[in-house]
Amino acid sequence: MTRLLVTLDGLAYEVELGAVGGDTCQVTVNGEALTVTVPHPEATVIDMEWLIVNGWPYEIGFDAGLQWLKAYDGLHTVEIQDLNQRVARPRSGDGRVKAPIPGLISRVLVAPGESVTAGQPLIILEAMKMENEIRAPFDGVVQAIGVTVGQTVLRNTVLAEVN
């Protein structure tokens, strides 16, 4: 039995569910029993995009990190906590600054050792003819710059580290 706390647009739902491998599973949300059908159980999980909950069909888009969910009525933010695992929330102080999209490094505005304040632009990343500022996540000191001007980077390439 998996127990999850699903927070949708800030509203928390306690969800309990058993095996999810087949095309139908029983799910309890805040004590209410629901039947969830996965019409294409054989599809790879990343392709799965619609489910039927108690006879209501939902087409769902979601991001790779399951941070948001797109339903017919627009976007919903999502947080999922596994109540069985009780792992402490990791420190929020990850100072690795990653490329949010692929692109070209057009300028580097700071140097290692320099002090920066939260929100200060560190690097300019050009993609689709737009100039995107990559900013410091918090106040701190630049530990390293991982890229040079003119370099093409992939999504999630570490651009800089701040601590």
């Binding site: 998996t2 999850l4 699903v6 949708l8 739902y13 969800v15 569910l17 999810v20 491998g21 599973c25 799910v27 949300v29 805040n30 629901l34 969830v36 996965v38 999980v45 392709d47 799965m48 995009e49 489910l51 909950v53 108690n54 209501w56 939902y58 087409e59 769902i60 888009g61 979601f62 991001d63 790779a64 990190g65 399951l66 941070q67 969910l69 339903a71 017919y72 009525d73 627009g74 976007l75 999502v78 947080e79 999922i80 906590q81 695992q85 792992v87 402490a88 929330r89 690795r96 949010p100 999209i101 692929p102 692109g103 050009e126 993609a127 689709m128 003819k129 737009m130 100039e131 999630n156």
Partner: protein
């Protein structure tokens, strides 16, 4: 009539031009750059030619050399790129290849935006207050003085082509320097030119364009006006026809003014005469775009006239086939731009491969796109992925039709602005037709529906199932990604 036509463009407009050429029996030559190879325009053309790099779409020499090598007798430039490049038009003329568009002199006159505004004003047509000249990169002080004289808020504008790139509203003198710098970076990237000028900002405003069709014999008609006041990053993401901001009397005045301007500037082929309209309904001439526009599908779905076919016919020297009174305008049309942009990440572009593309169908829904399931959104270009245009007998029906079309549209693989479009289509101010260019900054809080509670509960169940299935299917060798309790803040997911 032409027998072989090169499309000097990419994406949805290249596909759109190819479709009309095929209907006309004209052989098509497409150009493409490596990252664009999966685009539908490459698949649908009769011939396709690889370009050396992403910049080549806007290189006059490269395009002309291909046109000559492949023996085409016409070039359609689409919008952007070479559509308003007088030098390119002259080179085509010299090479004996028809350029589908106006003559070089018309383009030159219109691209001198300040000159055009002054010429219009001299003819007694109201224009927006603007700086008397444009400013180079090293003329910041002069630019600042001009802005102060006009009075804040002001708008910075590029001297070059449209599409809103580089345009920035500046609230006060304090923010001018940074705004100028950013506008220059952007106009350099898009147009290869940093020259800017200053206009007085009209806020809140409505943007209205009048579609003009003109033959070489001096006849011209309009196909009505469209309003593009739902603006994000200076791009009109939703446009509609007819414009909502005009009373019937103002509409007639504006259409008549547009016709006068079109005659004044001797436009030929297609053009859009653009106006700003303030909340009192007063309109100010802004500029003329002498090319096909993204939103031309609105005029097409209302009038049922194929504008690309008209462009090609007119360039071949044929006269207009319609008089003004032959043009039937009824009903209401809306067009949305679906863009590869991340709605949760400041609408940053999201190039990538689309897994599933499911286009909406049914009555009076038109889709223009270059993608399909498995196609790529390349990283170097405009994020426009698809245009959805709908028609209905009246505006309320058009709004609900567009809403269901957007809900029908399935795009997975990379985020898009679909959630934003859906939200606008459900926004009470938009639904009521009372909005101006600041709509997106005033979008109402989430729309609460009667079924809200049930939908949330069901989505929570659905997400729980998806999450659990996904966690189970993932490689157990990297348990740290999925097994941490607070999934969302997990380091591994960046």
């Amino acid at each position: 009539m032409f027998t072989k036509l090169l499309i000097a463009n990419r994406g949805e407009i290249a596909v759109r031009i190819i479709r009309t050429c095929r209907e006309m029996g004209i052989h098509t030559v497409a150009v493409y750059e490596a990252s664009d190879r999966s685009s539908l325009h490459v698949r649908l053309a009769d011939e396709c030619v690889a370009l050396p790099g992403p910049q080549s779409y806007m290189e006059p020499e490269t395009i002309l050399a291909i046109a000559q090598q492949y023996g085409v007798d016409a070039i359609h430039p689409g919008y952007g790129y070479l559509a308003e490049d007088a030098g390119f038009i002259r080179a085509c003329d010299a090479a004996g290849i028809a350029f589908i568009g106006p003559p070089a002199e018309v383009v030159e006159t219109l691209r001198d935006k300040i000159g055009a505004l002054e010429k219009a004003r001299a003819a007694g047509i109201p224009t927006v207050v603007h700086s008397p000249r444009s400013f180079a990169e090293d003329e910041f002080d002069a630019l600042r003085e001009a802005a102060a004289e006009i009075g804040y808020p002001v708008v910075l504008k590029s001297c070059r082509g449209g599409r809103g790139r580089g345009e920035r509203v500046v609230a006060d003198a304090l923010h001018l320097a940074e705004a100028v710098r950013r506008a220059q970076v952007e106009t350099q990237a898009v147009y290869g030119n940093k020259q800017l000028y200053v206009e007085r900002a009209i806020l809140p405003a409505h943007q209205v364009g009048v579609q003009i069709v003109a033959d070489r014999q001096g006849n011209l008609i309009h196909l009505g006006e469209r309003e593009g006041s739902v603006v994000q990053s200076n791009q009109k993401i939703i446009e509609e026809e007819p414009a909502l901001c005009l009373t019937p009397q103002r509409r007639e005045e504006l259409l008549a003014t547009a016709m006068r301007l079109a005659q004044l500037f001797k436009v030929e082929n297609l053009a859009t005469v653009e106006f700003l309209v303030d909340d009192a309904g007063r309109f100010y001439f802004s500029e003329i775009k002498s090319r096909i526009q993204i939103a031309h599908t609105l005029a097409e779905i209302v009038s049922r006239i194929d504008l690309v076919r008209e462009q090609i016919r007119l360039e071949a020297g044929e006269p207009l086939a319609y008089r003004q009174e032959d043009v039937v305008r009824r009903g209401h049309a809306i067009m949305c731009r679906v863009q590869a942009e991340d709605p949760l990440n400041r609408y940053l572009p999201t190039p990538g491969r689309l897994r599933q593309v499911r286009l909406p169908g049914g009555a009076e829904v038109r889709v223009d796109t270059y993608v399909y399931s498995g196609a790529d959104v390349p990283p170097h270009y405009d994020p426009l992925v698809a245009k959805v245009t709908v028609w209905a007998a009246d505006r309320p029906a058009a709004v609900t039709r567009m809403r269901r079309a957007l809900e029908d549209l399935g795009l997975t693989g990379t985020p898009t602005n679909l959630p934003l479009l859906v939200r606008v289509l459900r926004d009470p101010a938009f639904v009521a037709g009372r909005y101006s260019t600041d709509l997106l900054s005033r979008l109402s809080a989430e729309v609460t529906e009667p079924d809200y509670e049930r939908v949330r509960r069901d989505l929570a169940a659905a997400v729980a199932v998806l999450y659990t299935r996904r966690r189970e299917s993932f490689n157990p060798q990297s348990p740290d990604v999925w097994a941490t309790g607070w999934h969302r803040s997990s380091r591994q997911l960046g």
